[in-house]
Symmetry: C2
Subunit: 500 residues, 2 copies
């Protein structure tokens, strides 16, 4: 074999894998958007077949030999090519550790789980979803053991989302957050609460909210020729290549703020994918490097940009133009305060910046318990509700607004949740660094966000998966990760807003 | 090999083909609905890869050997199994006659053509689309010659859509129509025209039209748990299995009647697919047998049901409820006359029943000319416009409303158009037969269409592809095909409406 031959084999197989994952991604996206209710079974069969094809290619002797040959000659490869081989071999090690039938079975299980979860959530029927959760977690534990037999399965799982992450590190991270957030929240709760009643008691028609979505995506510079918008039960972003990204939202006619922040959040994910370096396109290195870094970008847009005073001042005239009756007499300042109201609530995706990490903590602790066996699936509603009482001081009225609210477990995103809190903290550290050279508030106020997106593109987006997540973050901010930027940000912001 | 072994091989490969076609179908459906503008290139690559996989499976030695073995032992197979082998071998004969690269190249060409056509239509820019038409027709001629070297390529093409159809038969059919329709239209045009001005000059908001769509599909008994609705430039129906069918429509805010008849038409296609026999599911025999029979079902719902007086009387109260201001003071009778106004017009999909076949005739003659070389692609706009002048007496103002209006050529549906006129005629003969045992008007008036759908299911839908189209029609109506039922229907209806 020559290097050129090995490269040709490698590229051809990666192209096939990309095509299969593109098709599977579109099938899943369609399943969450336009597909009729009874379509799940047929989709499951097709996903099962395609994932089997992907498994065979990814674990084929031909591809593995080519990759190993290239690894042995990595000194003769460009840095990018060498990195791609490394990323492939890591991925292959995981995939090849799982027997084919189980790999395919998991894909069809998730397809079924998605349909069951949708219905169970609507009906607030935990018992209907419980067997699927059990199966999904058991599968993840089993896969983690296949892959790293000598490691705690949840450590393996965390590290799949954020390379190098462990329970020890995650515990330390959440402890650092709790230490600052819990007393801060107490002080906030002792103050008179922000009045956001002006938002409620009105109807914000979906078709007008759709126009608001278009406007928001334009403001945050999402290129709509490369980004579609769908409507789903749970907002998400999916991506097939840098010319084809999709975000989704969920419209609540009683309050346009929910969809507004879903759109800005998912738009942040979209921007990351849309600005992956051109030279990475078609390789395994295109697109976001990890879910924590991805969440750092989405929560950057959602919170550090989207919940800032200049942003609300920028967009409020448009909001009032779209909802003239509903927002009559309201000021931008009132809206700014309303979108920053901090108060324990039931739904993670609708939580304020201050309490958000506590929602994530509940999920992290539950996943840990499900992985080590200290929590049984049957106990989930009780434990969920007890933790919401403990950390957030509120009573969960039903499972729809409790343990069934998120789509992550049904989607197999087990071990994902810490990414949200880590991402928020990464983002805060990026914001601090960015402010050394960019007048962030002035850029937002001007309506031209390019100084901000330009920084993110130059330091994060364009690199795709060229560096491991922590390496990328340290390169971008010039220092090791430190959650204090996030807690400092929260303390400064909420002290100011609540006159603490 | 044993029969059981051959069957197992056959079934496993058909399942793979079904999965690949499902994935390709979803990719194309997504391309026409939610996909962003620049996504075509990536989708083309994926479609190219998947179609190559399908080609390899369909023409594989393994599958072909199993199928030939089963054919040789067809006496030992059930009638259904024997028929499926026959259908597969016919299809294989066509596919295997085309070199792999050309087969795949055509799929990516069509993906590109779809995007180019969309833009060309919006811009009324024929020159942009012309090279694609040229390429698509040239490919179809070439493929037809690969498949049947000794036959006129357009005969081959017609027969692919409607087994046994030839230019000779199609000419005779259109001549029979022209003979009756042209003088009838002349008489109609000499009468005072129906006043449909009450529809115009108002806005019918898309979000209300969406509710009207839901209502109409319910009336015609489409099961929405198995049928999704999308919005596209050109309405169409696509189907993946009998639990997953999609119809699309296009909303024109100035007139709700356009989308109304698109929805009923596509709903007719959907019903056919949704009621294919359960025992056919997963085989090559599930779903509609030919495009003419498909169009007979869609145009049955659209015209014989949807444009009947009892149907308008049935749905008009709902229409008025949804559009109370827009239709204030209008009567069901006025609406009935308006939706049956016969007058030469520019757009096929919006044409009345009487002139519709003339729109199809224009396209048939043009396709024939493109196939035999007597028409060059460059001349298309001129010839299109001249034929509209000749047959319909009207001037085509631009290519958007002329030669660029349909999505068929960009979709590779070359030779499809005659199906619409044939389908209308098949449907009229079914209607006459159905009336021997079903009081069609009374069923429509009652709002319970099941006597009608029950007849269609029992005589057409449930059989899938078990019989060739002409055989199925003759079985259903108990006589050979005769276009006089269609022309009689038109003459009776328009004589009555226009007091001829």
């Amino acid at each position: 074999m020559t290097i050129q031959e090995a490269k040709t084999i490698f590229r051809a197989n990666i192209a096939k894998l990309k095509a299969l994952h593109h098709a599977m991604g579109i099938l899943s996206f369609d399943g969450a958007t336009g597909a009729p209710a009874e379509s799940a079974e047929g989709r499951g069969k097709t996903l099962g077949y395609l994932s089997g094809c992907a498994y065979e290619i990814e674990t084929s002797k031909e591809l593995l030999e080519a990759a190993n040959y290239l690894k042995a000659h990595s000194g003769e490869l460009s840095a990018q090519d060498a990195r791609e081989i490394e990323v492939f071999l890591r991925r292959n090690e995981y995939t090849a550790s799982i027997p084919r039938e189980e790999f395919v079975g998991y894909v069809t299980l998730l397809n079924k789980a998605d349909a069951v979860w949708h219905k169970a959530k609507l009906d607030s029927d935990f018992a209907a979803f419980a067997p699927l959760i059990k199966d999904i977690f058991a599968t993840n534990v089993r896969f983690a053991k296949y892959y790293k037999p000598d490691q705690a399965p949840y450590d393996t799982q965390l590290s799949r989302y954020e390379r190098g992450l462990t329970m020890e590190k995650t515990d330390a991270f959440f402890n650092a957050l709790k230490e600052r957030i819990v007393p801060l929240l107490k002080k906030v709760m002792a103050k008179p609460q922000i009045d956001d009643s002006f938002i409620w008691g009105k109807v914000y028609p979906t078709e007008i909210q759709r126009k608001f979505t278009d406007y928001l995506l334009e403001v945050i510079t999402v290129d709509r020729n490369r980004c579609g918008v769908g409507e789903t039960e749970h907002p998400f972003t999916t991506f097939f290549n840098k010319k084809d990204v999709r975000v989704t939202t969920h419209y609540h006619e009683e309050n346009p703020v929910y969809s507004m922040y879903s759109v800005i959040h998912e738009g942040g994910h979209a921007l990351y994918e849309l600005h992956s370096g051109d030279e990475l396109e078609g390789t395994l290195l295109s697109g976001g490097v990890s879910m924590s870094v991805h969440e750092s970008q989405s929560r950057f847009m959602e919170n550090y940009v989207g919940r800032s005073r200049p942003f609300i001042e920028l967009i409020f005239p448009k909001m009032q133009e779209l909802f003239p009756e509903q927002l009559k007499g309201v000021t931008a300042e009132q809206m700014y305060l309303a979108v920053n109201k901090a108060e324990p609530s039931l739904i993670r995706t609708e939580a304020d910046e201050l309490t958000y990490a506590l929602h994530v903590l509940v999920r992290y602790e539950i996943e840990k318990g499900l992985f080590d066996g200290s929590i049984a699936v049957e106990e989930l509603p009780r434990i969920w509700n007890a933790k919401y009482k403990e950390y957030l001081g509120i009573d969960v009225p039903d499972d729809r607004r409790g343990v069934l609210q998120d789509s992550h477990w049904s989607g197999g995103n087990v071990g994902y949740f810490p990414s949200y809190a880590l991402g928020s903290a990464y983002g805060a550290q990026m914001l601090a660094k960015m402010k050394e050279t960019v007048d962030v508030d002035a850029a937002v106020a001007s309506g031209d966000l390019r100084p901000i997106t330009g920084w993110l593109e130059a330091h994060i987006w364009k690199y795709g998966k060229l560096y491991d997540p922590m390496e990328l973050l340290e390169k971008a901010v010039g220092a090791p990760f430190d959650p204090k930027y996030f807690t400092d940000y929260l303390e400064e912001k909420f002290t100011r807003i609540y006159n603490l």
